[in-house]
Subunit: 194 residues, 2 copies
């Protein structure tokens, strides 16, 4: 198991960052994040997340124009911004991803409600795996859901079956500029054991 | 950052388990999981996940009756099964959880589409935090989305605003009974850097 210090790196000491140090992220670091997160569990190993790591200033400018005003400047400044998308025809990959059940595609195809909830739930799980993997390799995260989804889909996923789920800045956060930490619900407020 | 071995504990060596050793989980371990996962980021710190940890044989029997046939026996055998729910009026807690924006409740209340996507996305993120926290404290997970949601809501969340998102067995997996591991998409199949 992990030590308290290692747990703190992932959870209690990790913060959502809004200000970024001027320090780049390498493509190798992005590969290291994916090579960890890809192993996280998804329904029928469906792995619906599709990620665009936006790094160039040209593509970043296109993305910044899709963000809510309050999310624009931090997105511009982050060395990389991940667009976490979901493949709405993820079931086409199941013959490869879930080979022991050759009929797995038929569990989803044509059942729009199940396709949508499976894509949304599981790409969200994978987005969380991405954020914790990023922290595990020493980076900070700044997830955001304030953006124009149709505009992001048009700019980054045109001609595909992928739709944006959420967006997350990645980089080295400027700890000096953190807000005070907000409280969390207690165990008894959020959980029970029966 | 974490070592390769520690990353492997969370990701590459961790497996979804279907068979469980006869070894209990303590309430202290469940508290340790929550005390880590609660710090994971959510939109406006909304923290919509509500978890019922089902441990007693009486409550477990009620839950098993809600599961799909293929998920029943493993749910019966797991020492604890977590029902990850989502509070559909999570915005009532924002005055406490997001105190620096006293109007945060108004961003959600009455906007059903935003409430639903926020609750679903963020309780899914928190479910992923829960699974990785469980692995971090030495446990194994077996997440499932095959169940009768209306029946679970009636049995475990009646009279509340909470709805089930997904269900996850927790315990010490029997590694001898694992299936061969299914493949994952390559970086280039799932990601791009632009």
């Amino acid at each position: 198991m992990l030590s308290q210090e290692q747990l703190a790196l992932l959870f209690s000491n990790a913060r959502t960052h809004n200000e970024w140090l001027d320090k780049p992220i390498s493509d190798e670091q992005l590969h290291a994040i994916y090579d960890a997160m890809k192993w996280g569990p998804t329904s029928a190993n469906s792995s619906p997340a599709r990620i665009v790591f936006v790094k160039s200033s040209e593509q970043k400018a296109k993305l910044v124009a899709c963000m809510s005003p309050g999310n624009a400047e931090k997105t511009r400044k982050a060395p990389v911004t991940a667009i976490v998308g979901m493949d709405m025809v993820f079931y086409e990959q199941l013959i490869k991803l879930f080979p022991h059940a050759p009929d797995a595609r038929s569990w989803f195809e044509g059942n729009d409600a199940v396709v949508e909830s499976t894509a949304f739930r599981n790409s969200s799980l994978q987005g969380a795996y991405m954020m914790l993997a990023a922290r595990a390799v020493g980076l900070d995260c700044g997830p955001m859901s304030g953006f124009d989804a149709e505009k992001i889909n048009a700019e980054f996923f045109a001609g595909s079956n992928v739709k944006v789920n959420f967006v997350c800045n990645l980089g080295y956060g400027d700890a000096a500029k953190l807000f005070p930490r907000s409280p969390r619900l207690s165990f008894d407020e959020a959980c029970k054991i029966v």
